[in-house]
Amino acid sequence: MSGPPIRLLRRHFLAGLGGALSGLALGSFASAAPELPPATDPAAKAAAEAEGAGLRPNLFVHVTPNGAVQIVCARSEMGQGVRSSLPVLIADELGADMGRVEIVQAPGDKAYGDQNTDGSHSVRGFYDALRKLGACARMMLIAAAAKQWKVAPSTCTAHDHAVWHEASGRSLGFGELALAAAKLPVPKDILLRPKAELLHVGKELPLLDGPAMVTGQALYGADVVLPGMRTAVIARPPVVGGKATAHDATKALAIPGVRAVVPLPAPTPPFAFQPLGGIAVVADDTWSAMRGRAQLEITWAAGANGEYDSETYRKTLLAAVGLPGVVVREVGDVGPALTGAARQVEAVYHVPHLAHATMEPPAAVATFDGQSCEVWAATQNPQASRSSVAQALGLDEENVTIHVTMLGGGFGRKSKPDFVVEAALLAKATGAPVRIQWTREDDIQHDYYHTVSTQRLVAGLDGDGKVVAWEHRTAFPPIGSTFSDTALSAPGELQQGVLDVPLAIANVRAENCEARAYTRIGWLRSVANIYHAFAVQSFIAEIAEARGSDPRETLLEIIGPPRIVTPEELGVEMLPNYGQSLTEHPIDTARHRRVIERVTELADWDQRKQQGRALGLAVHRSFLTYVAVVVSVVHGPEGKIAVDEVWTCLDAGTLVNRERVRSQFEGAVIFALSHALYGEITMQQGATVQSNFRDFRLMRFPEAPRAIHVEIVADDGPSCGVGEPGVPPVAPALTNAIFALTGQRVRNLPIARTLKV
């Protein structure tokens, strides 16, 4: 088998950011993806050694004697634009000319800090840390220049890739200073620049990998080719926890190109990041492997989850929320308040399992030489890939190298390295480099699914229609079930739209009703916020309808006046708050109100009835970011309800790359609309019914809104999440709009279950 040599994920900012600064064009990054030089080439070796010299004050920055600056991106690129964003924090602190900066993707190593690229964490978690890394290098370059000039460092500045002593008009380029700076001590007290000196941070920045993506040069997991590499596909047990009790490989081995049929060990619960087991077919190319797999004859034993039926389980969850659960939030006394209320509003909401369905199905390449394993993988989680491979192969982590490729979508799926371990196991078993290729059917049928959930909400209204009591019960198999046999509830998920919802209501109680998992539950972009925001924001609109008031006014009334909402007011003992302190990231209803007010202004909410438009509104804070959405729906062709226009207003604190922030919120609208309209995974006898995009339907061009308007209403304060918070308010804004259009309230997702969409 032949193929191009491996291109590393290194990319130059050749053309610099001039276009971004002038606002003329976004596409001013040119790609330069150097090919891996053969290790035996003396010239390449010498060049590599020369490149290795220079200033390396930390793992993330390298200033070479020829003036090149390399900046490491340690987080995975999966469409959120992290490679076009994070390195700019370092470069700006340094004072680098972006045209001479090269971005290098980090391998999986704890030395880089947390690399698990999820939780909308990359900017909010690393904003200050990355600035310090760049500032450290800047201080050392300045110190080297000041020493040479015999002036005080405080009289020097660094910008435009050089250190300047303006009083004497002298300057030295970063390259000229690199070797001298490398001999100086690394400063302990790091001084950050004034924010105004950060030239690119917060601007609309070009897409670093754009040129490579549109020319077919971007390297994804399945694109890695090693000499002598084979391709494997696996027949996995249809039911999680099942196993092959017998198999006949005769026909598979008769397929030309099939080299081996390898049974894989069955996992033991909890399944965590273990591969699912099954029978692998290893072949010379992908087509032969797929043909071989089709010829396998396997007898499966379903195991403990073989009875799981998602339709039956809906009834189980419905029964669960009919009974009291564990009280997780309490203010006042809901019981008497409900009993004494002039009227009650009650609703039950259901959100089904969903699949991640990344456009690139999981893929990884591994090679094993008897002592060490080297892997290339489309992984969000290179460190867990490393530890999982080491464990599966019985190696020390030092003997496992994980190279991170571009990810063709992640959404949480590729945080789980089961597929990476599969490649490593097969490389070891066959003695050849192996690429594991998941088919789309594998991806849809063997996912770590978004959980299934049912919620029951009851509100008590007094004689004036004021809400005096609020009871919220939620039941969902928790993510923890994937990692522990006994997990039945989930504090981590409860913060996402149950514990943290500001409610200016005197009597509030939330309960978590236990629910068992019968499949692998994982986290999907925005996680528990998906179902909690759907229920809460739908229910507030239902209250508005019940009392005949405007949904916007009702929403603002229930959120209450601008204030910082304390855990005491919420009635919770503690709030995880996405790992951030409530001091730095309080729940601030002024920010809820601001995005609501702005989004309804943009959508001309007050004039909607006169204009004959059907709008729905929702707001949700998740990953510390405040987002309000208005959706407009119309009667479309063929009797279908169609989404016409969407407005999203967000406050995510201080931003790094406004352009990628907007693109994330545009994409989140489509992602969330797909799920709300069509998204559903069902299971029968423990096995997934859906198998491809034919039956796991996603939004397509003709169904996409005519327009999506994204407005950033604030750009200050501590940075908050960006990748996920755009998702949760979309589904309830959509069903609220459908109610405005049709008078029909959709409480069970997907909408396609009850309406033509």
Binding site: G79, V214, T215, Y220, G667
Partner: protein
């Protein structure tokens, strides 16, 4: 069986199963990985290439159908990424993860070759077979129109 593919102007003589989908012939045997596998059933459009100028789904096109014919992949759409669609895609920062974009661009290129100034509805219809999970549809619509205004085909 021997199959001759003329890929991006270069001949490739392959001794492979004639039933092998063109997608896997291109990826595993020609060594061009820009064309992506997304579904294997002509449902997502990630694998779209041109066969004698027509957009086809390489994942369901047996390689024998391409025998002796001209195949254009994303790598061959322009020598240097200068096709008006590629330029528009970069200008408007269309891609997110980028995985579907080769197929999107190849589909759009076939559209513009036939219809130099498509309406939104015509773009939607022509591109209905191309999925994007990241949700870049609206930017793609704009980019196709921008490329159309810039002349559509490669100059």
């Amino acid at each position: 069986m021997t199959i001759t593919l003329h890929v991006n102007g270069k001949p490739h003589v392959l001794d492979i199963d004639p039933q092998m989908p063109l997608l896997w012939a291109l990826r595993d045997h020609v060594g061009l990985n820009g064309t992506k596998y997304g579904c294997g059933q002509a449902l997502c459009g990630a694998c779209v290439v041109h066969l004698d100028g027509e957009a086809v789904r390489a994942c369901v096109t047996p390689v024998r159908r391409a025998d002796g014919r001209a195949v254009t992949t994303i790598e061959g759409l322009s020598p240097d990424g200068s096709h008006p669609l590629q330029k528009a895609w970069v200008d408007l920062a269309v891609p997110q993860c980028g995985f579907c974009q080769a197929g999107q661009i190849m589909t759009a290129a076939a559209l513009l070759a036939k219809n130099p100034s498509p309406s939104d509805a015509e773009i939607d219809t022509s591109m209905a077979g191309n999925l994007c999970r990241c949700g870049t549809y609206l930017r793609i619509r704009t980019a196709v129109k921008q490329a159309a205004a810039a002349g559509g085909k490669e100059k």
